[in-house]
């Protein structure tokens, strides 16, 4: 990443990454739009350099790529700020005062909607409808939905964003708790008090990937992604988990709802099953309590 003259952050584009995205989406429906969406997900906006590479790789003229990039509202050709404020301007939000909320944000940030502040801290965007109409006016600040926003709350929301919201998607999952699990085959406990992670006993399994095998320890704090592994698992790769006691493969759960990789089941002490996605880096997990 580097900073250009306008002082906000311009992405360094990795050509291999762009080509991989193109290759992934070229065959299916949606083609170009899916490619641009993924590039935007990586860089936060559509860097010119990446668009040139897409044009070359898909054998289309740059004008076509530019046309699609500017036609759709969710694409941005400008780098975005560190914090993102998105005010819903749907009809239900409008009749409950979303316009005043937008103006208050504009006033406080000193920018118009669609712009990024000079210091690169905030981008202010508006959206036609977020589908949370019953709770209008709705604003999303760094991924967190705030309902029934009043103009008097705006200053506080910006302050909170500067300090940092928990990066936990929509909700405030503040109440973390630890669980204890056992092998679903031999019922032996998988907990390892001698190797704590996040200040709790860790979950101990045998992991194998390619021809390597070793011990893997996962945090038992529900929702935490902390882990320690003896063998290197490259991000995106799918591993196999085994019970360290009976050596049975932990398998048989439904596939991950985020990345469709297999998940490993573990029996929860107290009832229910915990499913953990086997893809390195995927946050997918499921606590099955039915």
């Amino acid at each position: 990443m580097k900073r250009d003259g306008r002082s906000y952050v311009v992405a360094q584009v990795d050509e291999r990454e762009v080509l991989a995205v193109v290759a992934k989406h070229e065959a299916g429906c949606g083609g170009l739009i899916a490619i641009l969406e993924e590039i935007q997900a990586i860089y936060g906006y559509l860097p010119e350099q990446a668009l040139r590479q897409v044009a070359q790789a898909t054998d289309r003229s740059l004008v076509d790529i530019y046309g699609v990039s500017t036609f759709y509202r969710s694409f941005s050709m400008q780098p975005r700020g560190k914090h993102r404020v998105c005010v819903c301007l749907g009809t239900a939000c409008h009749v409950r005062g979303a316009q005043s909320v937008t103006e208050e944000f504009e006033q406080r940030l000193g920018i118009q909607s669609g712009e990024t502040s000079e210091d690169g801290e905030f981008s202010l965007e508006t959206v036609n409808c977020l589908g949370a109409c019953a709770l209008g006016p709705v604003t999303v600040v760094d991924g967190k939905y705030v309902s029934k926003v009043k103009t008097s709350q705006v200053r506080g929301l910006l302050d909170k964003a500067r300090k940092g919201y928990a990066q936990s998607g929509n909700g405030e999952d503040k109440e973390a708790f630890a669980i204890a699990v056992s092998c679903p085959v031999c019922s032996h406990s998988l907990m390892d008090a001698g190797f704590p992670l996040d200040d709790h006993p860790s979950i101990h399994v045998k992991v194998s990937i390619d021809h390597q095998e070793g011990c893997l320890r996962l945090s038992s704090l529900y929702g935490s992604g902390s882990l320690a592994s003896e063998c290197e698992i490259p991000p995106g790769e799918v591993a196999i988990f085994r019970c360290p006691h009976c050596l049975a493969e932990l398998t048989g759960a439904d596939d991950c709802s985020i990345c469709q990789a297999p998940m490993a089941p573990m029996a929860i002490v107290g009832g229910g099953t915990m499913h953990v996605c086997l893809r390195r880096g995927c946050p997918g997990h499921l606590l099955d309590l039915q």
Partner: protein, 615 residues
């Protein structure tokens, strides 16, 4: 596990249903977008923790569901089989709710209370918001965890598919849908069965497409999101049945990128259906194949128009094109394509399972079935309501919606989004269906119903829609591109005190020209917000023009703020003012500097003493 025949599916369903019928109590918690925004994730986590730590899973289970519709009251917990409905729950309430559910008792103070009468309800079904609805589609949401296909199947899911594969007659499928009288829920109300019949007759050697339009661009409507999030398998089943009836070979769900949870749940559901052999090659061993893929939209309202949607699916700019040829003849990649909206697809399994004759009994003649409305805006019970066609607006707004929130009277409802119009309170006896709404100058649209009270300015509303339309106009027809822009400018002049009476005639003339000379639905209906407000609320336009006054106190250039004698000098307004326009000593009356004031109204919203006045 792959199910190799219809019998295997039936068998497995009875196994699953038996398991579910164990009689164990259950806590249902909604995790739809709105409830997540209200904090339901925290409630879910607290519940999981309590169930595990107290080892209660033998006696109590937890079901995380999609939207139940009563979004105003979220986050909530519904207990089964009690049907106790606890509203606006906090994490610290969870242990009490669990104890009460185990003992068959109630946590009295958390039960839903009618805000106007104060009456407490012990059974969810007795709450007027739910009691006065007829929920054939939404009802399933509370019984299903959307990422678990087992739940859907146990509740009778894929029985429609079973029936279709047993009858083995595509013509029968299309006839049933025709006989049921289902009309497209996306807005225009075209008979679905007729559309399918036309697709079935198309010859194509390169395959045919079915599309589920989940672009839901209409601001203020969110029923499609709630169905996709809460019951994705009903859409998948509907599309498989449609494919069997029409001979379609591929399906596409075109879904908005603004709906991440819907995309996640649909992705998981498609994967599960494929794994079970309900989707893909040789479905249930019957030799019939069909698969569905997801295409994400990128935020363009015009892509709800079918030819634009097809271009977007092809990865191009979503500009509409001239019809004919209709998509039924030449759609995606030139192949015959039929497009139906999410809610339409969700109705298909219901029609097949209940039978067309039973289905046609719901609603009125020529307008059968139920319709889901998103009842939002200035109304007490905001949320999704599902009612039979033909219910009056009054019944929906007052019996289900609970009437106005504060003292301000309800003035109108707006239906159909930017393509629709406003219906004044004097016409609330109107029975809602496709035909009556269009006679009243509005449209059904996808089902947005935005309630407006005396504090909503109708000129400002028309301006709001026109700004939306001018921004979303693709620009292909110049009458739409320039016409919406010019109508916006005139409305802007009126709301800033620069309007003249001639403007009104010009506005009306422009509206008719745009309506008559544009190619696609966006342009043809773009005049509706202007024409319907001019028709029913002309007096508000006149007040802006002749008296430089905004009766609803919305249009800022016509407003001025002042502080009256109620002021006690608490300084709250001064601190809240972002432009330092308020002066005054502590415990002394404050004053607003009109030259600095930006009329944001923040001072008025923070004042506890009614000391800030607008005129």
């Amino acid at each position: 596990m792959k199910l190799s025949s219809i019998e295997k599916l039936t068998e497995w369903r009875s196994v699953l249903a038996k398991k579910n019928a164990s009689g164990k109590s259950c806590l249902c918690i909604c995790a739809g977008t709105a409830c997540q925004a209200s904090g339901s994730n925290e409630i879910i986590r607290a519940t999981k923790r309590a169930l595990i730590e107290r080892r209660l899973l033998d006696r109590l289970s937890l079901r995380i569901t999609g939207c139940h519709g009563f979004c105003e009251m979220g986050p909530f917990v519904l207990t089964e089989p009690q049907q106790a409905f606890y509203t606006q729950v906090k994490a610290e309430d969870v242990p009490r709710i669990i104890d009460a559910a185990l003992a068959g008792e109630y946590v009295e103070e958390l039960l839903y209370k009618d805000p106007s009468t104060g009456q407490k309800y012990y059974h969810r079904g007795d709450i007027p918001f739910f009691k006065n609805q007829q929920r054939t589609i939404l009802e399933a949401n509370q019984k299903i965890d959307p990422i678990r296909i087992h739940d859907y199947i146990a509740e009778g899911g894929y029985r429609g598919l079973e029936k279709v594969l047993s009858v083995q007659d595509p013509v029968w499928v299309v006839e049933e849908v025709k006989k049921a009288g289902l009309r497209g829920r996306g807005g225009a109300g075209f008979p679905t069965g007729l559309k399918w019949e036309m697709l079935a007759k198309q010859r194509s050697n390169g395959g045919k497409f079915l599309v589920c339009n989940a672009d839901e661009g209409d601001p203020g409507a969110y029923m499609d999101r709630s169905i996709l999030e809460g019951n994705p398998h009903s859409i998948i089943e509907g599309m498989i049945i449609g494919a069997y009836g029409t001979g379609a070979t591929s399906g596409v769900v075109y879904v908005r990128n603004e709906y991440p949870i819907a995309i996640k749940h649909l992705t998981a559901a498609l994967q599960q259906a494929r794994t079970l052999g309900l989707l893909g090659g040789n479905i249930l061993g019957g030799g019939f194949s069909f698969d569905i893929e997801i295409v994400r939209g990128a935020g363009a309202f015009v892509c709800g128009e079918e030819t634009a949607l097809i271009r977007s699916i092809e990865g191009k700019m979503g500009e509409p094109r001239q019809r004919p040829p209709f998509p039924i003849q030449r759609g995606i990649n030139g192949k015959p394509t039929a497009i139906n909206n999410v809610e339409t697809w969700a109705n298909i399994p219901v029609i097949i399972v209940r039978g067309a004759d039973e289905y046609a009994k719901i609603g009125t003649k020529n307008n059968s079935g139920t319709k889901i409305f998103s009842l939002v805006g200035k109304i007490r019970n905001t949320g999704l309501v599902e009612v039979p066609m033909g219910m009056t607006i009054k019944e929906i707004v007052y019996n289900i919606g609970g009437g106005p929130v504060g003292k301000a009277q309800i003035k109108a409802v707006q239906t159909g989004g930017p393509s629709g119009g406003c219906i004044p309170a004097s016409m609330f006896d109107l029975q809602i269906d496709y035909d009556s709404l269009s006679r009243a100058g509005s449209i059904m649209g996808s089902g947005g119903m935005i309630v407006m009270d005396e504090n909503t300015c109708m000129v400002d509303l028309a301006k709001y829609f026109m700004r939306f339309l001018k921004e979303e106009s693709c620009g292909k027809c110049f009458t739409c591109r320039k016409g919406t822009q010019r109508m916006y400018e005139i409305l802007d002049d009126i709301t800033t005190g620069k309007g003249t009476l001639e403007h009104l005639d010009l506005l009306e003339e422009l509206a008719h020209v745009v309506k008559d000379t544009t190619m696609c639905g966006l342009g043809q209906t773009s005049a509706n917000p202007v024409l319907s407000t001019l028709r029913y609320f002309r007096d508000e336009y006149l007040a802006h023009i002749q008296n430089s006054r905004c009766p609803a106190q919305v249009c800022k250039p016509l407003l001025s703020y002042s502080i009256n004698n109620n002021c006690i000098g608490c300084q709250a307004c001064g601190k809240a003012c972002s432009v330092n326009a308020i002066h005054g000593e502590r415990k002394q009356r404050h004053f607003i500097d009109a030259s600095k004031c930006i009329k944001c109204g923040t001072c008025r919203s923070v004042c506890k003493y009614d000391a800030v006045e607008a005129a």
